[in-house]
Symmetry: C2
Subunit: 366 residues, 2 copies
């Protein structure tokens, strides 16, 4: 056990082996500043004299970095397969490119927000009946997506140059938990042929702490076995997969929370190193502060699916909550809370929480 003048409660996300980075302010000093968490305290890095209790009202956490660009991958084979089965049937579940490319797309950086920020149910355009005109109104199939994301560190690369896959780990600074809120009905109508747009840019929540990769080294596990072999520009020997437990709870407005999903980062098919090598293969420059997300992380079993879409199997199997409640998708007032931690031989490295409550849609007025 490490000894420190700061008391670290047993089971804390933030022991001395973690030291995650964040940005905070206080009511008495509203200027945003860098900090690290130790147990329930926040160490102000701007003047290492101050130590604030992190669990009290006074400390407000902010986005831990200025995000230049935000990219979202689609790297869980179980998630991609589930979605494929639902929309295209079992035979064509995975797209032909999926095992060759760490498929991803550019997301919206402006709407990435820190844990605790309420999320408004969106209005938007949907096509309830094929062949009929589209309609406008509040999203009916509002969903979360359990993801993790890393912040890019290191020097980045110049436009026109690649980051070779074996060196890509140098650009992974640290990880956060992410909820990629998704409007399924809006997405379905808009996404062909250029991908998700307004269904995703309504808000993306991340936890306030960046856990440095160094703190995760004791929890490295084998990379997911890839078949067929990937092209050489994606091949690396280094193990860069992590055993990180991920838990999703849903808390209705006037009821207790229910654990609805137990997943793990290690189910990802593609590594962060492969994601970076692919992202830069055509010469795209990445910069410190860029955020790269995993895509929904689902495991093999039904209790490890990382979205309501999969947990309720497109609404056909309602999810049972405490207090005799059920959900097919997210209702107004529901709060989604994602937590993550690594644990081995008495060492626990936690990620804190990523939470967001869904507010009712604003009625349309032209």
């Amino acid at each position: 056990m490490s000894v420190s003048f700061v008391d670290v409660p047993k089971g804390s996300d933030f022991p001395l082996q973690n030291l995650p980075y964040g940005v905070f302010s206080t009511q008495s000093n509203p200027g945003k500043r860098l900090c690290v968490a130790i147990g329930n305290n926040v160490l102000d890095l701007s003047g290492v004299a101050h130590l604030y209790p992190a669990q009290v009202q006074e400390v407000e956490m902010h986005l831990p970095a200025d995000i230049g660009d935000y990219t979202d991958f689609y790297s869980s084979i179980h998630h991609a397969t589930n979605v494929g089965i639902m929309f295209r049937g079992k035979e064509n579940a995975l797209m032909p490119n999926w095992r060759h490319i760490p498929v991803g797309y550019h997301g919206r950086a402006s709407s990435v927000v820190v844990s605790g920020t309420p999320i408004r149910r969106p209005l938007g355009q949907t096509l309830p009946v094929d062949g009929q005109p589209p309609v406008f109104g509040a999203c009916k199939l509002f969903d979360f997506e359990l993801e993790m994301a890393f912040f890019v560190g290191g020097p980045g690369n110049k436009l026109g140059e690649r980051v070779p896959v074996e060196e890509a780990w140098k650009n992974v600074f640290g990880f956060t938990i992410m909820n990629d809120w998704s409007a399924r009905d809006i997405q379905k109508w808009e996404y062909i042929p250029l991908g998700p747009f307004t269904a995703k840019n309504l808000g993306t929540t991340i936890s306030p702490w960046i856990i440095p990769v160094e703190a995760l080294e004791p929890f490295i596990v084998n990379n997911y076995a890839q078949d067929p072999q990937v092209l050489p520009y994606l091949k690396h020997d280094k193990s860069f997969n992590f055993d990180i437990n991920l838990l999703v709870s849903l808390k209705p407005e006037h009821a207790e929370e229910t654990l609805i999903c137990k997943s793990n980062y290690k189910y990802l098919y593609w590594t962060a190193m492969q994601q970076i090598a692919h992202h830069t293969v055509t010469g795209c420059n990445i910069r410190p502060g860029d955020l790269m997300a995993s895509g929904t992380i689902s495991g093999e079993t039904e209790d490890s699916f990382g979205s309501m879409l999969e947990l309720s199997w497109r609404g056909t199997k309602p999810v049972q909550l405490n207090g005799n409640l059920t959900r097919k998708f997210i209702e107004d007032g529901d709060e989604i809370i994602i937590r993550g931690y690594c644990e081995r031989n008495g060492l626990r490295i936690g990620f804190g929480e990523c939470r967001g409550k869904v507010l009712p849609a604003i009625p349309f007025k032209k």
Copy 2:
């Protein structure tokens, strides 16, 4: 005619009625600073005492704003129809959502560069033969896309709130010319189901001048007639379409340039006001400095198509160049130069140039 102590040559892009914004530096003073162009001169706004000749070696232009997020729309009906015919046949040319939604997607802000920046032919993954494994190598179908883009101005909106369509003009600060370089063979293999990614993030060139919307008011024309009627959140009365001539030239390395496309901004089906209203409909916040592009602007006639893909009809009709040269797609050493101007009753408002030369691919070394 306006009279000024600065001499404005006849036919200049930048008369006193234009006053476009840009960012420049000089060798003797490398700090980047705001300027406006008047004729062939650059007025340093940081100390209104200095006036620099803009056409000489000494002045270097930079990106005219810090781009927070970059969005690319797909708003030309002729372009969308051409691409649809080539890939899906005449009957299903336009996707069912196209006339209801100003389709768009999030692009990569980090790789937007200013006119004059060389562009490297990308390496990447393609699928030359269906059913066979993908291959890795230099892009074979490298293309330009003639676009225009506007910078967002005004206060922006808060996350969770919309910009009503009738007010959206307040968020359009001014326009630039854009070349959205595209790797067609890479795009074809990667884009399902999440849209273009590495095929587009290799570089996007914009002209260095932002032409304020106020300078374009004399050139406002009727909005494109939309059929069927759009949903109320996209309906506006204000005319917000512009008669802007757009010219694309291709200059092989050791030959003179050839004009290969004559198009016009006015061919766009969707207005910038509709683009903003749709972009924010689910609550996405937009910020000053965000860049929103039109998508490839093609007209009805073959000489107005805004990409090599369309001009050579997927490589089946080589484009004739001066000096007995031909092109199906862009070759190494080729420079693409896009120019734009409005002209009426002796008043000419120009956009300057958007140019970029294609360098050969860097050979692959793992």
